[in-house]
Symmetry: D2
Subunit: 145 residues, 4 copies
Protein backbone atom coordinates (compact mmCIF):
# COMPACT_ATOMS: atom_id res chain seq x y z
CA UNK A 1 0.00 0.00 0.00
CA UNK A 2 1.72 3.13 -1.22
CA UNK A 3 0.72 6.76 -1.51
CA UNK A 4 2.07 9.32 -3.96
CA UNK A 5 3.08 12.25 -1.81
CA UNK A 6 1.63 14.66 -4.30
CA UNK A 7 -0.14 14.42 -7.59
CA UNK A 8 2.34 13.71 -10.35
CA UNK A 9 5.09 12.43 -8.09
CA UNK A 10 6.35 8.89 -8.71
CA UNK A 11 4.88 6.16 -6.55
CA UNK A 12 7.43 4.24 -4.50
CA UNK A 13 6.99 0.50 -3.93
CA UNK A 14 9.33 -1.33 -1.55
CA UNK A 15 10.94 -4.56 -2.69
CA UNK A 16 10.75 -7.84 -0.81
CA UNK A 17 13.34 -10.58 -0.75
CA UNK A 18 10.78 -12.98 -2.21
CA UNK A 19 10.50 -10.73 -5.30
CA UNK A 20 13.88 -12.14 -6.32
CA UNK A 21 14.15 -15.27 -8.37
CA UNK A 22 16.88 -17.87 -8.51
CA UNK A 23 18.96 -15.51 -10.67
CA UNK A 24 19.08 -12.91 -7.88
CA UNK A 25 17.07 -10.16 -9.54
CA UNK A 26 13.39 -9.23 -9.36
CA UNK A 27 11.45 -11.87 -11.30
CA UNK A 28 10.06 -10.46 -14.55
CA UNK A 29 6.52 -11.55 -13.69
CA UNK A 30 6.74 -10.01 -10.23
CA UNK A 31 7.43 -6.60 -11.76
CA UNK A 32 3.77 -6.67 -12.86
CA UNK A 33 2.74 -7.03 -9.21
CA UNK A 34 4.89 -4.03 -8.30
CA UNK A 35 3.54 -1.94 -11.19
CA UNK A 36 0.00 -2.95 -10.24
CA UNK A 37 0.57 -1.82 -6.67
CA UNK A 38 1.89 1.56 -7.79
CA UNK A 39 -0.79 1.96 -10.48
CA UNK A 40 -3.64 1.28 -8.07
CA UNK A 41 -2.37 4.02 -5.75
CA UNK A 42 -1.96 6.40 -8.69
CA UNK A 43 -5.40 5.60 -10.11
CA UNK A 44 -6.98 6.12 -6.70
CA UNK A 45 -5.17 9.33 -5.77
CA UNK A 46 -4.82 10.98 -9.18
CA UNK A 47 -7.62 9.63 -11.38
CA UNK A 48 -10.14 8.92 -8.63
CA UNK A 49 -10.68 5.23 -9.39
CA UNK A 50 -12.19 3.84 -6.25
CA UNK A 51 -10.72 0.38 -5.80
CA UNK A 52 -8.31 -2.15 -7.26
CA UNK A 53 -11.37 -4.15 -8.32
CA UNK A 54 -12.54 -1.29 -10.56
CA UNK A 55 -10.42 -2.19 -13.58
CA UNK A 56 -8.77 -5.11 -15.35
CA UNK A 57 -5.57 -5.25 -17.38
CA UNK A 58 -6.35 -5.92 -21.06
CA UNK A 59 -2.87 -5.52 -22.52
CA UNK A 60 0.61 -4.98 -21.18
CA UNK A 61 3.93 -4.20 -22.83
CA UNK A 62 7.08 -4.19 -20.71
CA UNK A 63 10.67 -3.49 -21.67
CA UNK A 64 13.09 -4.78 -19.06
CA UNK A 65 16.06 -2.42 -19.34
CA UNK A 66 18.22 -3.42 -16.37
CA UNK A 67 18.22 -5.86 -13.48
CA UNK A 68 16.31 -4.74 -10.39
CA UNK A 69 18.24 -5.96 -7.37
CA UNK A 70 17.17 -6.28 -3.75
CA UNK A 71 19.89 -3.74 -2.91
CA UNK A 72 17.80 -1.15 -4.75
CA UNK A 73 15.31 -1.58 -1.89
CA UNK A 74 12.44 0.04 -3.83
CA UNK A 75 11.30 1.22 -7.23
CA UNK A 76 9.73 4.55 -8.20
CA UNK A 77 7.01 4.40 -10.83
CA UNK A 78 5.89 7.49 -12.78
CA UNK A 79 2.64 7.46 -14.72
CA UNK A 80 1.21 9.36 -17.61
CA UNK A 81 -1.92 8.82 -19.65
CA UNK A 82 -1.20 7.92 -23.28
CA UNK A 83 -4.79 7.45 -24.45
CA UNK A 84 -8.35 7.65 -23.12
CA UNK A 85 -11.11 5.50 -24.59
CA UNK A 86 -14.75 5.21 -23.63
CA UNK A 87 -14.06 2.21 -21.44
CA UNK A 88 -10.29 2.21 -21.16
CA UNK A 89 -7.17 4.15 -20.23
CA UNK A 90 -3.74 3.45 -21.67
CA UNK A 91 -0.87 4.39 -19.36
CA UNK A 92 2.83 4.99 -19.87
CA UNK A 93 4.77 3.71 -16.86
CA UNK A 94 8.40 4.57 -16.18
CA UNK A 95 10.27 2.55 -13.57
CA UNK A 96 13.40 3.89 -11.91
CA UNK A 97 15.44 2.86 -8.90
CA UNK A 98 15.56 5.40 -6.04
CA UNK A 99 18.99 6.31 -7.41
CA UNK A 100 17.43 7.26 -10.75
CA UNK A 101 18.39 4.27 -12.92
CA UNK A 102 15.77 3.64 -15.62
CA UNK A 103 15.12 -0.11 -15.20
CA UNK A 104 11.84 -0.71 -17.04
CA UNK A 105 9.26 0.93 -19.26
CA UNK A 106 5.67 -0.26 -19.57
CA UNK A 107 2.48 0.55 -21.41
CA UNK A 108 -0.75 -0.85 -20.04
CA UNK A 109 -4.32 -0.86 -21.36
CA UNK A 110 -6.76 -0.76 -18.44
CA UNK A 111 -10.39 -1.57 -19.01
CA UNK A 112 -12.76 -0.19 -16.42
CA UNK A 113 -14.60 -3.03 -14.73
CA UNK A 114 -17.96 -3.54 -13.09
CA UNK A 115 -17.16 -6.29 -10.60
CA UNK A 116 -20.80 -6.97 -9.79
CA UNK A 117 -21.76 -7.49 -13.41
CA UNK A 118 -18.40 -9.03 -14.44
CA UNK A 119 -18.29 -6.79 -17.48
CA UNK A 120 -16.56 -3.65 -18.68
CA UNK A 121 -18.02 -0.24 -17.87
CA UNK A 122 -17.59 3.32 -19.18
CA UNK A 123 -15.28 5.74 -17.41
CA UNK A 124 -17.19 7.99 -15.05
CA UNK A 125 -17.14 11.71 -15.98
CA UNK A 126 -14.86 12.38 -13.00
CA UNK A 127 -12.39 9.65 -14.00
CA UNK A 128 -12.38 10.96 -17.57
CA UNK A 129 -11.80 14.54 -16.49
CA UNK A 130 -8.91 13.72 -14.18
CA UNK A 131 -7.33 11.29 -16.67
CA UNK A 132 -7.45 14.04 -19.30
CA UNK A 133 -5.35 16.29 -17.07
CA UNK A 134 -2.63 13.64 -17.13
CA UNK A 135 -2.61 13.13 -20.90
CA UNK A 136 0.86 13.21 -22.40
CA UNK A 137 -0.56 14.20 -25.80
CA UNK A 138 -3.96 15.85 -25.39
CA UNK A 139 -5.41 14.72 -28.71
CA UNK A 140 -5.38 11.06 -27.66
CA UNK A 141 -8.95 10.99 -26.48
CA UNK A 142 -10.88 8.40 -28.46
CA UNK A 143 -14.59 7.83 -28.62
CA UNK A 144 -14.40 4.19 -29.63
CA UNK A 145 -12.96 1.92 -26.96
CA UNK B 1 7.33 -28.92 -14.31
CA UNK B 2 5.72 -29.78 -17.61
CA UNK B 3 6.73 -31.76 -20.65
CA UNK B 4 5.44 -31.32 -24.19
CA UNK B 5 4.44 -34.79 -25.26
CA UNK B 6 5.93 -34.26 -28.68
CA UNK B 7 7.74 -31.50 -30.43
CA UNK B 8 5.27 -28.86 -31.55
CA UNK B 9 2.48 -29.86 -29.19
CA UNK B 10 1.21 -27.25 -26.76
CA UNK B 11 2.64 -27.34 -23.26
CA UNK B 12 0.06 -27.81 -20.53
CA UNK B 13 0.48 -26.03 -17.19
CA UNK B 14 -1.88 -26.81 -14.31
CA UNK B 15 -3.48 -23.94 -12.42
CA UNK B 16 -3.32 -23.48 -8.67
CA UNK B 17 -5.93 -21.87 -6.47
CA UNK B 18 -3.36 -19.26 -5.40
CA UNK B 19 -3.05 -18.15 -9.06
CA UNK B 20 -6.42 -16.47 -8.58
CA UNK B 21 -6.68 -12.94 -7.32
CA UNK B 22 -9.40 -11.26 -5.35
CA UNK B 23 -11.45 -10.93 -8.56
CA UNK B 24 -11.60 -14.73 -8.93
CA UNK B 25 -9.57 -15.07 -12.13
CA UNK B 26 -5.90 -15.80 -12.73
CA UNK B 27 -3.95 -12.67 -11.78
CA UNK B 28 -2.53 -10.93 -14.85
CA UNK B 29 1.01 -10.98 -13.42
CA UNK B 30 0.77 -14.67 -12.58
CA UNK B 31 0.10 -15.49 -16.23
CA UNK B 32 3.77 -14.58 -16.81
CA UNK B 33 4.77 -17.29 -14.31
CA UNK B 34 2.62 -19.81 -16.18
CA UNK B 35 4.01 -18.76 -19.57
CA UNK B 36 7.53 -18.94 -18.17
CA UNK B 37 6.93 -22.47 -16.93
CA UNK B 38 5.63 -23.58 -20.31
CA UNK B 39 8.34 -21.71 -22.22
CA UNK B 40 11.16 -23.23 -20.21
CA UNK B 41 9.88 -26.73 -21.01
CA UNK B 42 9.50 -25.81 -24.68
CA UNK B 43 12.96 -24.21 -24.87
CA UNK B 44 14.51 -27.26 -23.23
CA UNK B 45 12.70 -29.92 -25.24
CA UNK B 46 12.39 -28.20 -28.61
CA UNK B 47 15.21 -25.63 -28.83
CA UNK B 48 17.71 -27.42 -26.58
CA UNK B 49 18.22 -24.59 -24.08
CA UNK B 50 19.69 -26.30 -21.07
CA UNK B 51 18.20 -24.55 -18.05
CA UNK B 52 15.82 -21.82 -16.95
CA UNK B 53 18.88 -19.81 -15.96
CA UNK B 54 20.08 -19.73 -19.59
CA UNK B 55 17.97 -16.77 -20.69
CA UNK B 56 16.32 -13.59 -19.43
CA UNK B 57 13.16 -11.86 -20.58
CA UNK B 58 13.95 -8.54 -22.25
CA UNK B 59 10.50 -7.59 -23.48
CA UNK B 60 7.02 -8.97 -23.14
CA UNK B 61 3.70 -8.11 -24.78
CA UNK B 62 0.54 -9.79 -23.54
CA UNK B 63 -3.04 -9.43 -24.71
CA UNK B 64 -5.49 -10.73 -22.14
CA UNK B 65 -8.46 -11.91 -24.20
CA UNK B 66 -10.65 -13.67 -21.64
CA UNK B 67 -10.68 -14.52 -17.95
CA UNK B 68 -8.79 -17.66 -16.97
CA UNK B 69 -10.76 -19.33 -14.19
CA UNK B 70 -9.71 -22.03 -11.74
CA UNK B 71 -12.42 -24.21 -13.28
CA UNK B 72 -10.32 -24.32 -16.45
CA UNK B 73 -7.84 -26.36 -14.36
CA UNK B 74 -4.97 -25.80 -16.81
CA UNK B 75 -3.79 -23.80 -19.79
CA UNK B 76 -2.21 -25.03 -23.01
CA UNK B 77 0.54 -22.85 -24.47
CA UNK B 78 1.70 -23.16 -28.09
CA UNK B 79 4.96 -21.61 -29.21
CA UNK B 80 6.43 -20.45 -32.44
CA UNK B 81 9.58 -18.51 -33.20
CA UNK B 82 8.90 -15.06 -34.66
CA UNK B 83 12.48 -13.86 -34.98
CA UNK B 84 16.02 -15.06 -34.30
CA UNK B 85 18.80 -12.60 -33.44
CA UNK B 86 22.44 -13.20 -32.61
CA UNK B 87 21.70 -13.14 -28.89
CA UNK B 88 17.93 -13.36 -28.76
CA UNK B 89 14.82 -15.26 -29.77
CA UNK B 90 11.38 -13.67 -30.12
CA UNK B 91 8.51 -16.07 -29.51
CA UNK B 92 4.81 -16.01 -30.33
CA UNK B 93 2.84 -17.64 -27.52
CA UNK B 94 -0.80 -18.68 -27.82
CA UNK B 95 -2.70 -19.54 -24.65
CA UNK B 96 -5.84 -21.66 -24.74
CA UNK B 97 -7.91 -23.43 -22.13
CA UNK B 98 -8.04 -27.23 -22.44
CA UNK B 99 -11.47 -26.66 -24.01
CA UNK B 100 -9.86 -24.58 -26.78
CA UNK B 101 -10.83 -21.05 -25.70
CA UNK B 102 -8.18 -18.52 -26.79
CA UNK B 103 -7.54 -16.60 -23.55
CA UNK B 104 -4.25 -14.81 -24.15
CA UNK B 105 -1.64 -14.03 -26.76
CA UNK B 106 1.94 -13.08 -25.98
CA UNK B 107 5.15 -12.11 -27.70
CA UNK B 108 8.38 -12.38 -25.74
CA UNK B 109 11.96 -11.33 -26.49
CA UNK B 110 14.36 -13.73 -24.79
CA UNK B 111 18.00 -12.80 -24.46
CA UNK B 112 20.35 -15.73 -23.97
CA UNK B 113 22.18 -15.37 -20.68
CA UNK B 114 25.51 -16.39 -19.24
CA UNK B 115 24.68 -16.72 -15.56
CA UNK B 116 28.31 -16.97 -14.49
CA UNK B 117 29.30 -13.76 -16.25
CA UNK B 118 25.95 -12.00 -15.68
CA UNK B 119 25.86 -10.92 -19.31
CA UNK B 120 24.15 -11.84 -22.55
CA UNK B 121 25.62 -14.55 -24.75
CA UNK B 122 25.22 -15.64 -28.38
CA UNK B 123 22.90 -18.52 -29.27
CA UNK B 124 24.81 -21.76 -29.64
CA UNK B 125 24.80 -23.24 -33.17
CA UNK B 126 22.48 -26.01 -31.92
CA UNK B 127 20.01 -23.57 -30.37
CA UNK B 128 20.03 -21.51 -33.55
CA UNK B 129 19.46 -24.52 -35.78
CA UNK B 130 16.54 -25.85 -33.76
CA UNK B 131 14.98 -22.40 -33.33
CA UNK B 132 15.13 -21.95 -37.13
CA UNK B 133 13.02 -25.07 -37.59
CA UNK B 134 10.30 -23.42 -35.52
CA UNK B 135 10.29 -20.10 -37.38
CA UNK B 136 6.85 -18.93 -38.39
CA UNK B 137 8.30 -16.80 -41.21
CA UNK B 138 11.71 -18.12 -42.26
CA UNK B 139 13.18 -14.79 -43.31
CA UNK B 140 13.14 -13.44 -39.77
CA UNK B 141 16.71 -14.35 -38.97
CA UNK B 142 18.62 -11.23 -38.07
CA UNK B 143 22.33 -10.77 -37.65
CA UNK B 144 22.13 -7.79 -35.33
CA UNK B 145 20.69 -8.58 -31.92
CA UNK C 1 -5.37 -28.45 -10.03
CA UNK C 2 -4.59 -32.02 -8.97
CA UNK C 3 -6.61 -35.14 -8.45
CA UNK C 4 -5.78 -38.03 -6.14
CA UNK C 5 -6.02 -41.09 -8.35
CA UNK C 6 -7.81 -43.00 -5.64
CA UNK C 7 -8.96 -42.28 -2.14
CA UNK C 8 -6.02 -42.45 0.25
CA UNK C 9 -3.34 -42.08 -2.40
CA UNK C 10 -0.94 -39.15 -2.09
CA UNK C 11 -1.77 -36.04 -4.06
CA UNK C 12 0.94 -34.98 -6.51
CA UNK C 13 1.62 -31.28 -7.11
CA UNK C 14 4.03 -30.22 -9.85
CA UNK C 15 6.72 -27.67 -9.05
CA UNK C 16 7.27 -24.46 -10.97
CA UNK C 17 10.57 -22.66 -11.47
CA UNK C 18 9.13 -19.61 -9.68
CA UNK C 19 8.62 -21.74 -6.54
CA UNK C 20 12.39 -21.49 -6.07
CA UNK C 21 13.91 -18.65 -4.13
CA UNK C 22 17.30 -17.04 -4.45
CA UNK C 23 18.83 -19.99 -2.57
CA UNK C 24 17.74 -22.41 -5.30
CA UNK C 25 15.22 -24.46 -3.30
CA UNK C 26 11.45 -24.17 -2.93
CA UNK C 27 10.75 -21.10 -0.77
CA UNK C 28 9.49 -22.08 2.67
CA UNK C 29 6.38 -19.92 2.32
CA UNK C 30 5.58 -21.36 -1.09
CA UNK C 31 5.39 -24.85 0.39
CA UNK C 32 2.14 -23.66 2.01
CA UNK C 33 0.75 -22.91 -1.45
CA UNK C 34 1.69 -26.41 -2.59
CA UNK C 35 0.19 -28.03 0.53
CA UNK C 36 -2.94 -25.94 0.07
CA UNK C 37 -3.29 -27.11 -3.52
CA UNK C 38 -2.93 -30.76 -2.51
CA UNK C 39 -5.20 -30.36 0.54
CA UNK C 40 -8.01 -28.75 -1.44
CA UNK C 41 -8.01 -31.70 -3.85
CA UNK C 42 -7.95 -34.18 -0.94
CA UNK C 43 -10.72 -32.37 0.94
CA UNK C 44 -12.86 -32.29 -2.18
CA UNK C 45 -12.30 -35.87 -3.28
CA UNK C 46 -12.00 -37.62 0.07
CA UNK C 47 -13.86 -35.50 2.63
CA UNK C 48 -16.42 -33.98 0.28
CA UNK C 49 -15.64 -30.32 1.01
CA UNK C 50 -17.10 -28.46 -1.92
CA UNK C 51 -14.68 -25.63 -2.65
CA UNK C 52 -11.43 -24.02 -1.62
CA UNK C 53 -13.52 -21.19 -0.18
CA UNK C 54 -15.18 -23.59 2.29
CA UNK C 55 -12.46 -23.47 4.94
CA UNK C 56 -9.74 -21.24 6.37
CA UNK C 57 -6.40 -22.18 7.90
CA UNK C 58 -6.37 -21.38 11.63
CA UNK C 59 -3.03 -22.88 12.57
CA UNK C 60 -0.12 -24.46 10.75
CA UNK C 61 2.99 -26.28 11.91
CA UNK C 62 5.63 -27.24 9.36
CA UNK C 63 8.91 -29.06 9.80
CA UNK C 64 11.20 -28.53 6.84
CA UNK C 65 13.29 -31.71 6.73
CA UNK C 66 15.20 -31.38 3.46
CA UNK C 67 15.53 -29.00 0.53
CA UNK C 68 12.94 -29.37 -2.22
CA UNK C 69 14.69 -28.77 -5.53
CA UNK C 70 13.26 -28.03 -8.96
CA UNK C 71 14.89 -31.27 -10.12
CA UNK C 72 12.39 -33.14 -7.93
CA UNK C 73 9.77 -31.87 -10.42
CA UNK C 74 6.85 -32.55 -8.03
CA UNK C 75 5.92 -33.40 -4.46
CA UNK C 76 3.54 -36.09 -3.19
CA UNK C 77 1.42 -35.15 -0.18
CA UNK C 78 -0.31 -37.77 1.99
CA UNK C 79 -3.07 -36.76 4.38
CA UNK C 80 -4.58 -38.19 7.51
CA UNK C 81 -7.05 -36.71 9.96
CA UNK C 82 -5.57 -36.16 13.41
CA UNK C 83 -8.60 -34.63 15.10
CA UNK C 84 -12.19 -33.67 14.30
CA UNK C 85 -13.90 -30.79 16.13
CA UNK C 86 -17.36 -29.35 15.69
CA UNK C 87 -16.10 -26.65 13.35
CA UNK C 88 -12.60 -27.86 12.52
CA UNK C 89 -10.42 -30.65 11.18
CA UNK C 90 -6.77 -31.11 12.08
CA UNK C 91 -4.72 -32.85 9.41
CA UNK C 92 -1.37 -34.60 9.39
CA UNK C 93 0.41 -33.92 6.08
CA UNK C 94 3.46 -35.87 4.90
CA UNK C 95 5.45 -34.47 1.99
CA UNK C 96 7.73 -36.70 -0.09
CA UNK C 97 9.53 -36.28 -3.38
CA UNK C 98 8.42 -38.66 -6.17
CA UNK C 99 11.55 -40.64 -5.28
CA UNK C 100 10.27 -41.13 -1.74
CA UNK C 101 12.44 -38.65 0.19
CA UNK C 102 10.57 -37.28 3.23
CA UNK C 103 11.08 -33.51 2.82
CA UNK C 104 8.48 -31.96 5.12
CA UNK C 105 5.85 -32.75 7.72
CA UNK C 106 2.92 -30.50 8.55
CA UNK C 107 -0.07 -30.31 10.84
CA UNK C 108 -2.86 -27.92 9.93
CA UNK C 109 -6.01 -26.82 11.76
CA UNK C 110 -8.75 -26.10 9.23
CA UNK C 111 -11.84 -24.19 10.32
CA UNK C 112 -14.88 -24.69 8.14
CA UNK C 113 -15.96 -21.38 6.66
CA UNK C 114 -19.17 -19.79 5.51
CA UNK C 115 -17.93 -17.37 2.88
CA UNK C 116 -21.24 -15.56 2.59
CA UNK C 117 -21.45 -14.87 6.34
CA UNK C 118 -17.67 -14.47 6.79
CA UNK C 119 -17.83 -16.72 9.87
CA UNK C 120 -17.02 -20.28 10.87
CA UNK C 121 -19.57 -23.04 10.34
CA UNK C 122 -20.09 -26.57 11.65
CA UNK C 123 -18.95 -29.56 9.61
CA UNK C 124 -21.80 -31.02 7.62
CA UNK C 125 -22.80 -34.59 8.63
CA UNK C 126 -21.30 -35.86 5.38
CA UNK C 127 -17.98 -34.09 5.93
CA UNK C 128 -17.85 -35.41 9.49
CA UNK C 129 -18.58 -38.97 8.45
CA UNK C 130 -15.97 -39.04 5.71
CA UNK C 131 -13.34 -37.30 7.87
CA UNK C 132 -13.94 -39.92 10.56
CA UNK C 133 -13.00 -42.68 8.11
CA UNK C 134 -9.61 -40.99 7.67
CA UNK C 135 -8.86 -40.61 11.40
CA UNK C 136 -5.42 -41.80 12.36
CA UNK C 137 -6.55 -42.39 15.97
CA UNK C 138 -10.34 -42.84 16.11
CA UNK C 139 -10.84 -41.37 19.58
CA UNK C 140 -9.82 -37.90 18.45
CA UNK C 141 -13.33 -36.67 17.79
CA UNK C 142 -14.03 -33.66 19.99
CA UNK C 143 -17.30 -31.93 20.64
CA UNK C 144 -15.84 -28.56 21.48
CA UNK C 145 -14.19 -26.83 18.56
CA UNK D 1 12.75 -3.75 2.38
CA UNK D 2 11.97 -2.43 5.86
CA UNK D 3 13.99 -0.99 8.68
CA UNK D 4 13.11 -1.06 12.38
CA UNK D 5 13.42 2.53 13.50
CA UNK D 6 15.14 1.49 16.68
CA UNK D 7 16.23 -1.75 18.23
CA UNK D 8 13.27 -3.53 19.77
CA UNK D 9 10.64 -1.64 17.81
CA UNK D 10 8.25 -3.64 15.65
CA UNK D 11 9.11 -3.93 11.99
CA UNK D 12 6.43 -2.61 9.64
CA UNK D 13 5.76 -4.36 6.31
CA UNK D 14 3.38 -2.81 3.81
CA UNK D 15 0.69 -4.98 2.23
CA UNK D 16 0.16 -5.37 -1.50
CA UNK D 17 -3.11 -6.04 -3.26
CA UNK D 18 -1.68 -9.30 -4.61
CA UNK D 19 -1.20 -10.53 -1.01
CA UNK D 20 -4.97 -11.05 -0.95
CA UNK D 21 -6.49 -14.29 -2.06
CA UNK D 22 -9.88 -15.00 -3.57
CA UNK D 23 -11.43 -14.72 -0.09
CA UNK D 24 -10.32 -11.08 0.21
CA UNK D 25 -7.83 -11.47 3.06
CA UNK D 26 -4.07 -11.94 3.08
CA UNK D 27 -3.37 -15.51 1.94
CA UNK D 28 -2.13 -17.68 4.81
CA UNK D 29 0.98 -18.71 2.88
CA UNK D 30 1.81 -15.13 1.99
CA UNK D 31 1.96 -14.21 5.68
CA UNK D 32 5.21 -16.23 5.73
CA UNK D 33 6.63 -13.92 3.06
CA UNK D 34 5.68 -10.89 5.15
CA UNK D 35 7.14 -12.41 8.34
CA UNK D 36 10.30 -13.31 6.42
CA UNK D 37 10.67 -9.75 5.21
CA UNK D 38 10.29 -8.36 8.73
CA UNK D 39 12.53 -11.03 10.26
CA UNK D 40 15.36 -10.43 7.81
CA UNK D 41 15.37 -6.73 8.72
CA UNK D 42 15.28 -7.57 12.44
CA UNK D 43 18.04 -10.17 12.14
CA UNK D 44 20.19 -7.72 10.22
CA UNK D 45 19.64 -4.68 12.42
CA UNK D 46 19.30 -6.30 15.83
CA UNK D 47 21.15 -9.64 15.70
CA UNK D 48 23.73 -8.68 13.10
CA UNK D 49 22.97 -11.45 10.60
CA UNK D 50 24.43 -10.23 7.35
CA UNK D 51 22.05 -11.35 4.64
CA UNK D 52 18.79 -13.14 3.94
CA UNK D 53 20.89 -16.00 2.57
CA UNK D 54 22.53 -16.54 5.99
CA UNK D 55 19.79 -18.71 7.46
CA UNK D 56 17.07 -21.19 6.53
CA UNK D 57 13.71 -21.84 8.16
CA UNK D 58 13.67 -25.31 9.77
CA UNK D 59 10.30 -25.16 11.52
CA UNK D 60 7.41 -22.73 11.65
CA UNK D 61 4.27 -22.55 13.79
CA UNK D 62 1.66 -19.92 12.99
CA UNK D 63 -1.64 -19.17 14.68
CA UNK D 64 -3.91 -17.11 12.45
CA UNK D 65 -6.01 -15.11 14.90
CA UNK D 66 -7.89 -12.69 12.65
CA UNK D 67 -8.19 -11.80 8.99
CA UNK D 68 -5.58 -9.38 7.66
CA UNK D 69 -7.32 -7.10 5.15
CA UNK D 70 -5.86 -4.81 2.53
CA UNK D 71 -7.49 -1.93 4.39
CA UNK D 72 -5.01 -2.55 7.23
CA UNK D 73 -2.36 -1.34 4.72
CA UNK D 74 0.53 -2.84 6.74
CA UNK D 75 1.45 -5.19 9.57
CA UNK D 76 3.79 -4.59 12.50
CA UNK D 77 5.90 -7.56 13.58
CA UNK D 78 7.60 -7.71 17.00
CA UNK D 79 10.35 -10.24 17.65
CA UNK D 80 11.82 -11.87 20.69
CA UNK D 81 14.29 -14.73 21.01
CA UNK D 82 12.77 -17.81 22.65
CA UNK D 83 15.80 -20.09 22.46
CA UNK D 84 19.41 -20.04 21.25
CA UNK D 85 21.12 -23.24 20.07
CA UNK D 86 24.59 -23.77 18.68
CA UNK D 87 23.34 -23.52 15.10
CA UNK D 88 19.86 -22.12 15.55
CA UNK D 89 17.68 -19.36 16.94
CA UNK D 90 14.01 -19.81 17.82
CA UNK D 91 11.98 -16.62 17.58
CA UNK D 92 8.61 -15.54 18.93
CA UNK D 93 6.86 -13.29 16.39
CA UNK D 94 3.82 -11.17 17.20
CA UNK D 95 1.85 -9.68 14.32
CA UNK D 96 -0.41 -6.68 14.82
CA UNK D 97 -2.20 -4.29 12.50
CA UNK D 98 -1.08 -0.64 12.72
CA UNK D 99 -4.24 -0.14 14.82
CA UNK D 100 -2.97 -2.68 17.34
CA UNK D 101 -5.15 -5.71 16.52
CA UNK D 102 -3.29 -8.96 17.27
CA UNK D 103 -3.78 -10.90 14.01
CA UNK D 104 -1.18 -13.68 14.17
CA UNK D 105 1.42 -15.30 16.39
CA UNK D 106 4.36 -17.32 15.12
CA UNK D 107 7.33 -19.28 16.38
CA UNK D 108 10.14 -19.99 13.95
CA UNK D 109 13.28 -22.12 14.19
CA UNK D 110 16.05 -20.56 12.11
CA UNK D 111 19.12 -22.58 11.26
CA UNK D 112 22.16 -20.54 10.38
CA UNK D 113 23.28 -21.36 6.85
CA UNK D 114 26.52 -21.40 4.93
CA UNK D 115 25.30 -20.75 1.40
CA UNK D 116 28.63 -21.63 -0.19
CA UNK D 117 28.82 -25.03 1.49
CA UNK D 118 25.03 -25.63 1.44
CA UNK D 119 25.15 -26.73 5.08
CA UNK D 120 24.31 -25.38 8.53
CA UNK D 121 26.87 -23.32 10.44
CA UNK D 122 27.35 -22.23 14.05
CA UNK D 123 26.21 -18.80 15.19
CA UNK D 124 29.07 -16.34 15.20
CA UNK D 125 30.04 -15.01 18.65
CA UNK D 126 28.57 -11.62 17.71
CA UNK D 127 25.24 -13.11 16.59
CA UNK D 128 25.09 -15.18 19.79
CA UNK D 129 25.81 -12.20 22.02
CA UNK D 130 23.22 -9.95 20.40
CA UNK D 131 20.59 -12.72 20.28
CA UNK D 132 21.14 -13.30 24.01
CA UNK D 133 20.21 -9.67 24.70
CA UNK D 134 16.83 -10.33 23.08
CA UNK D 135 16.06 -13.53 25.00
CA UNK D 136 12.60 -13.57 26.51
CA UNK D 137 13.70 -16.10 29.18
CA UNK D 138 17.49 -15.94 29.65
CA UNK D 139 17.98 -19.60 30.58
CA UNK D 140 16.99 -20.78 27.12
CA UNK D 141 20.50 -21.02 25.77
CA UNK D 142 21.19 -24.58 24.70
CA UNK D 143 24.47 -26.17 23.75
CA UNK D 144 23.01 -28.89 21.59
CA UNK D 145 21.40 -27.60 18.42
Amino acid sequence: MVTPERTGAPVRVGLRWRDLDHQGHVYHGTLLTLLDEARTAWLRDVVGVRSADSYVVARIEVDYLAEILVEHAAIDVSFEVARIGRRSITTGETVRTPGGLHVAQASVVLVMWDRQGRSSRELTPGERERARERLAAPEEVAADA
